[in-house]
């Protein structure tokens, strides 16, 4: 993975930059000793590491303004960081960059149940947003699997999804407003507690811009009343095609499950060995969850089971209690851990049209043989968001590179069948160089032109999202 050569001028004036940051922040909010900056050398994409020049941990929008003004004046790249859970390397630093971490900004600023929104500082974790409203029987819908740790700032940067977005949408569909600080240190308020944009929908562009347009310090989020209950059903099939057809039939039937999860045989076997959830040993497994009152759930599950039976399932398990529900989810929720038990893995998240599911799974199986690397598939089938987990051995020379090449081939396949490179993790550095497979140069150019408007000097998270060759002229112009 190439990263730009650090700017020697910035490296040379480290002491000066640190002094200027210390002048505008409390003493404990600036980290610059190498032993300590090392804690920020990577995010959840651990294959690549580089300690930053310094780390700043502001506690308020005002402090963020002060930091960005210093960095802008000194032409220092800034890498915003939420909780550091990005799987795409979205907050991976370069040696000449300052990491701006929002972890200290965790306040709830306003919770309004009559108008159904909450305003928070963006360092707050995803799950604790729901936590702040659950006593009133509300919740915040997007639920990335890292929700215990991940911050709203990162959710906004990556437009995070989750298992339940089939019904509730992803971050962008639940974000009403932001307070954002531009690289020049200007505070911009966009949106608010109302539902739509008065002018151009800049909020829609900021969400998912991977920290390249501004630093979002506060967010107004839509909260929803909790459903009365939820229950899953588990179904096993003896082919991926049949499972895929079942997904399509459920969707067409008019029932809107909150989640439709899919696991293939390698994944089922790994999770059984690891968690012992009692899954049937079959080719493909679906977990379909619906919400409502007991009688509403019964009515929906009855429809779903009727559809499933037309596809000759090898196993059907309907939950009748919270305990049974937990057991159905147990295997799915431990899938990543189970695969990790076997070996190191790389997790992809390309999205495909649901109709292409059987073809794509078959091709992944063939590629797995060609590359000699095992792969398990666990994903959100309702919306076609795949999560192939490729197993490799990080200690074996060449294995990581082989795994990356395999991953790139899978993602190209996703694009080829009408899908995209990433459904919810973001591009970061991981998929940066594959962008040319999805977009023509002019399609990338208009996106970069948007960054030119927000961050003319290309100082915010500059080496991400766009292939380095594509962004080079713009990044160089800044130095």
């Amino acid at each position: 993975m190439d990263m730009p050569t650090p700017n020697p001028e910035v490296l040379a004036k480290k002491a000066h930059i640190v002094a200027r940051l210390k002048a505008v922040l409390p003493a404990d909010a600036v980290i610059y000793e190498e032993a300590e900056t090392r804690a920020y050398e990577c995010d959840a994409l651990t294959a690549y590491r580089c300690p930053p020049l310094a780390v700043v941990l502001p506690a308020s929008t005002e402090e963020v303004v002060a930091i960005l003004k210093v960095c802008h004046a000194e032409t220092v790249p800034v890498v915003p960081r939420g909780a550091g859970t990005s799987l795409a390397g979205g907050s991976m630093p370069t040696a000449d960059s300052v990491i701006l971490g929002v972890a200290r900004m965790t306040e709830v600023l306003e919770a309004d149940f009559a108008n159904r929104f909450i305003r928070v500082q963006t360092g707050r974790t995803n799950l604790s947003v729901s936590g702040a409203v659950e006593e009133q029987d509300f919740f915040y819908a997007p639920d990335p699997s890292s929700q215990l740790a991940c911050a709203i700032a990162g959710n906004i940067a990556m437009n995070s999804g989750g298992a339940h977005c089939l019904k509730y949408g992803v971050t962008t569909n639940n974000l009403l407003g932001v307070t954002m600080v531009t690289m020049e240190g200007e505070v911009v308020e966009i949106g608010g507690a109302h539902l739509d944009a008065g002018g151009l929908d800049l909020l829609g562009v900021i969400c998912g811009s991977e920290g390249q347009l501004g630093v979002v310090t506060e967010a107004t989020l839509r909260i929803l009343p909790k459903p009365e209950g939820a229950r899953p059903v588990l179904m096993g099939f003896d082919s991926n095609e049949v499972a895929g057809q079942c997904v399509s039939d459920i969707i067409k039937s008019g029932i809107l499950p909150v989640a439709i999860e899919f696991m293939d045989r390698p994944c089922i076997r790994a999770t059984e060995a690891f968690a012992g959830a009692g899954y049937p040993d079959c080719e493909a497994l679906l977990i379909v969850e619906v919400e409502g009152s007991d009688e509403e759930i019964d009515a929906q599950l009855e429809r779903i089971l009727t559809i499933a039976r037309t596809h000759n399932p090898v196993g059907l398990r309907e939950s009748t209690s919270a305990d049974e529900s937990a057991r159905i989810w147990l295997g799915r929720k431990s899938a990543f851990g189970a695969m990790g038990q076997i070996n190191d893995y790389m997790c992809l998240d390309g999205t495909i049209p649901v109709s292409q599911l059987p073809l794509v799974l078959r091709r992944i199986g063939e590629m797995s043989k060609d590359y000699g690397l095992d792969v398990g598939n666990v994903f959100h089938a309702g919306d076609g968001n795949m999560h192939p987990l490729i197993l490799f051995d990080a200690n074996k020379p060449g294995d990581l590179e082989k795994c990356e090449a395999f991953g790139a081939d899978i993602l190209r396949l996703c694009v080829e069948v009408g899908g995209c490179l990433t459904g919810e993790h973001g591009v970061g550095i991981e998929k940066r160089d594959l962008m040319v497979d999805q977009y023509l140069p002019e399609d990338l150019d208009i996106q970069m032109a948007v960054k030119d408007v927000f961050d003319p000097k290309w100082l915010l998270n500059p080496a991400k999202v766009f292939p380095l060759t594509a962004s080079e002229t713009r990044r160089m112009a800044a130095e």
Binding site: D112, F113, A114, N115, R116, N159, G161, G169, N173, E186, V188, E189, G192, A193, H194, L195, D196, G198, G199, L200, D201, L202, G204, V205, C207, G208, S209, P225, K226, P227, S248, K252, G254, I255, G292, E295, E296, A299, Q300, T351, S355, H380, D383, G384, T422, G423, E424, G426, V427, M435, Y439, L440, E442, D443, I446, Q447, A449, V450, V453, F454
Partner: protein, 378 residues
């Protein structure tokens, strides 16, 4: 100019010597009037891909909305965002196009549950002001590959590019629907009632209030949709919940009547054929009645319709009235106004200086020559 293909359209834009007025079906004469040659997308009409099992449809921008809706209806599906037909309100003729719907981000009563048009929009192809054919997004439900210019194009009113193709997420038409009507509530109580319903677990798909409904009396409408079992269950629960607000509660289960009632809300039928300017005010729901009360201080006889639980307020006021003279957090757009009003008052709400600078910067990148619907959004 009515190009027949995307590349012809691109040539029209590239070769344009002056301002272009971008038109779909020409049913939405909204915004600051634009002087320029008409560039119509009507020649680009085709539902090019429809996968009911994947809940996605792709159509050329000039495809009539009615054709898209008929295609979906044949498979028991629909657009989640329930776009309004502006012809009645604006007194226009013609057939709204799907590109026009997207360009104006037209979103009806179901916006509170199923999202706005921009939330259903999965991908776009468009021609920018230099005549370049560009694409963003795609046709899959989840896509975070690069910047989301899809949202930006929705509601950009043809000022950033001429849409040539849109892909949309669709949803199944539920088997049953019902409407709980509460009669006789004041605006404030109605918004409280709607908030109570929207804060309940009963998955409301519409919440509107007319201070003066079809029969001239206040009526609050709460819609539920789903399986027959669900609709019956939730209608009963909501009847109990809404009784506390003091009005008479009635449940309407005749699907035709429910649909007609919500079409009445969606198309702002109340203000059709009326005199005066029509504004669309977007606020947090509890603020809606306050804005209306302040407007009534100077104009006691204005027509009012609340949608989105009170968060969307339609008002019909005497010509030339600036509803923004009343202060509120949110924004107001002049939807129906004489050319005179539209040249005096900003049609779209002015933005804060930093926001306006960003918007202007984006316009200059997408349309450096300033030829696409110049000035339409102010």
């Amino acid at each position: 100019m009515i190009p027949k293909t995307e590349s012809e359209l691109a040539e029209c834009v590239a070769g344009a010597q002056g301002a272009l007025r971008i038109q779909g079906g020409g049913t939405r004469d909204i915004g600051v009037p634009v002087a320029g040659a008409v560039l119509s997308t009507a020649g680009l009409s085709d539902v090019s891909l429809y996968e009911p099992g994947a809940l996605t449809v792709v159509a050329a921008a000039g495809t009539p909305l009615s054709e898209v809706e008929a295609t979906l209806a044949a498979e028991g599906q629909r657009l989640a965002f329930e776009p309004m037909d502006h012809c009645g309100l604006l007194g226009g003729q013609g057939a709204s196009t799907i590109g026009g719907v997207v360009a104006a981000n037209v979103s009806g009563p179901r916006r509170i549950q199923g999202g706005a048009c921009r939330d259903s929009l999965l991908g776009v192809r468009f021609v920018d002001g230099m005549g370049r054919v560009l694409k963003n997004g795609g046709r899959v439900m989840k896509n975070v590959t690069g910047y989301d210019l899809v949202k930006l194009m929705a509601g950009s009113w043809g000022t950033l590019g001429v849409l040539t193709e849109v892909s949309l997420k669709v949803q199944a038409v539920p088997e049953a629907m019902g409407c709980i009507l509460v009669n006789g509530l004041s605006d404030v109580d109605a918004v409280s009632a709607m908030s109570a319903a929207l804060g309940s677990p009963y998955d409301i798909s519409g919440a509107a209030h007319a201070p003066s409904g079809v029969d001239g009396h206040p009526v609050t409408m709460i819609r539920v949709e789903g399986l027959e079992t669900s609709v019956a269950y939730r209608a009963a629960k909501l009847t109990n919940l809404l009784a506390q607000f003091g009005g008479e509660v009635v449940v309407e289960r005749d699907s035709m009547k429910v649909a007609a009632g919500w079409a009445w809300v969606r198309d702002v039928t109340l203000m059709q054929g009326g005199r005066g300017d029509v504004w669309r005010i977007s606020v947090k729901p509890s603020e809606g009645p306050n804005v209306v009360a302040k407007l009534r201080e100077t104009h006691p006889n204005i027509s009012v319709l609340y949608d989105w639980g009170g968060g969307l307020v339609w008002v019909q006021v005497p010509q030339g009235t600036d509803v923004r003279a009343v202060e509120f957090a949110g924004h107001a757009t002049l939807i129906r106004g004489s050319e005179k009003t539209r040249s005096i008052l900003p049609v779209f709400q002015s933005e804060s200086a930093p926001l306006a600078a960003l918007s202007q910067g984006i316009r200059e990148k997408f349309d450096p020559r300033g030829i696409l619907n110049p000035g339409l959004m102010g």
